[in-house]
Symmetry: C2
DNA sequence: GCCATAAGATACGGCGCGTTTCCTGCTTCC
DNA sequence: GGAAGCAGGAAACGCGCCGTATCTTATGGC
């Protein structure tokens, strides 16, 4: 709801209330202008606060946006378990891709690209995938499938586990937009699943 | 006796000579400062010219750097043909990775990341891979290998052909540095080659 | 030798980051 | 309940760099 009076009462917010207002403002700016044109001044204005307040909490622009994404993104869900690997993976990959559908895809792309520029953020990002992230979920799904005899357990290596992720990310980065379903299925049916099913050699 | 003919004779260069000097200056700046800190002023100064001269030839910073890379990068070579696919691919992938070894790897990374930001440049980049680029070379190698019976010809699809490229690029982007040999071999031995050798299903 | 052309020097406007300075209202602690 | 101090808020600044505009001056074609 809207504040009753515009300039009547300069209500001074603090702590968590202020922080929530700021992160909401970030989200709003992302939706409206995208990441490229999200400015610190813009966020401050939208949150009706000022830049020093932002910089007291976050060291720079990407850190601020990370915080906003972390707050607003839906949590990871449990690994799907349909009883069939292909369906599991399809569900899972799609849920990954559509995690930020509330934002213009171009905004997410610009943000990820910006993340990659900074070594520190880059490391944090890749780390977030493995430690308790999607990689674990994938591994769970693969082990279950191996238990059912759907795939060759010998093929399950770290590189192969993260392969779907790597390909989705690459498609997103080079394509500029979330991979369409066609591409996801292609990745699964032409690369990931055949590889997992391939018998060991030698 | 106003002019004691100092070190700088005001030789005014034009056309191709000037252009070469500029692109060399770009290269020098890349080597010395990396892409992030390559500035138009810096290039102009190093080339002993001025910014308007740069902007008369190239519309912006990335375009200028593209021109410099195009001039200084070694040409693509013929696809290797050792008689064995793994060796061919190893040679080829390594040659790709070390194409810009004269530059600090961080500079190449920053440049590629910057390319991805602009839809136009992004498209030009991905296009350069397929049309008469590395993708063609890879396909040639794969077809030869299929002819020798090394791999399953049914596995050769566009997505699979570009798979090694995609994985190298992703490793470069997310790793921040050229993939070490270990990773290249892992990609080949755990993903690409097993997939190519896998028998058709159904 | 004349003149169009492009090089070179310089300065400017713009933008956005991150910081500084100063003021002011809220909260806490005695 | 009052003072001290903490944190929010507003404005302005310096910086760096982009891309452009203006003007002078050398150069090469004719």
């Amino acid at each position: 709801m809207r504040k009753p009076v515009e300039q009547g009462k300069p209500v001074r917010r603090r702590g968590d209330e202020l922080e929530r207002a700021i992160l909401d403002a970030v989200w709003g700016e992302l939706v409206e202008h995208g990441y490229d044109r999200l400015t610190m001044d813009g966020v401050a204005a939208r949150a009706r606060t000022s830049k020093p307040v932002l910089y007291r909490r976050w060291p720079n622009r990407p850190a601020l946006v990370i915080a906003a994404l972390g707050r607003n993104a839906p949590d990871f869900q449990e690994p799907p378990d349909t009883g069939e690997l292909r369906a599991d993976m399809l569900l899972f990959m799609r849920s990954l891709l559509h995690r930020f559908d509330d934002l213009p895809g171009e905004a997410v792309h610009a943000f990820l690209v910006d993340l990659l520029r900074d070594p520190e953020l880059r490391a944090r990002f890749t780390g977030s995938l493995t430690s308790d992230g999607p990689v674990n979920t994938l591994e769970t799904m693969l082990r279950r499938a191996a238990g059912r005899g759907e795939i060759n357990p010998g093929r399950i290596t770290p590189r192969v586990v993260s392969l779907p992720l790597d390909l989705l990310r690459d498609a997103f980065l080079t394509g500029g937009t979330v991979a369409p379903d066609r591409v996801v299925e292609e990745i699964l049916d032409e690369v990931v699943l055949p590889l997992l099913r391939a018998p060991s050699e030698g």
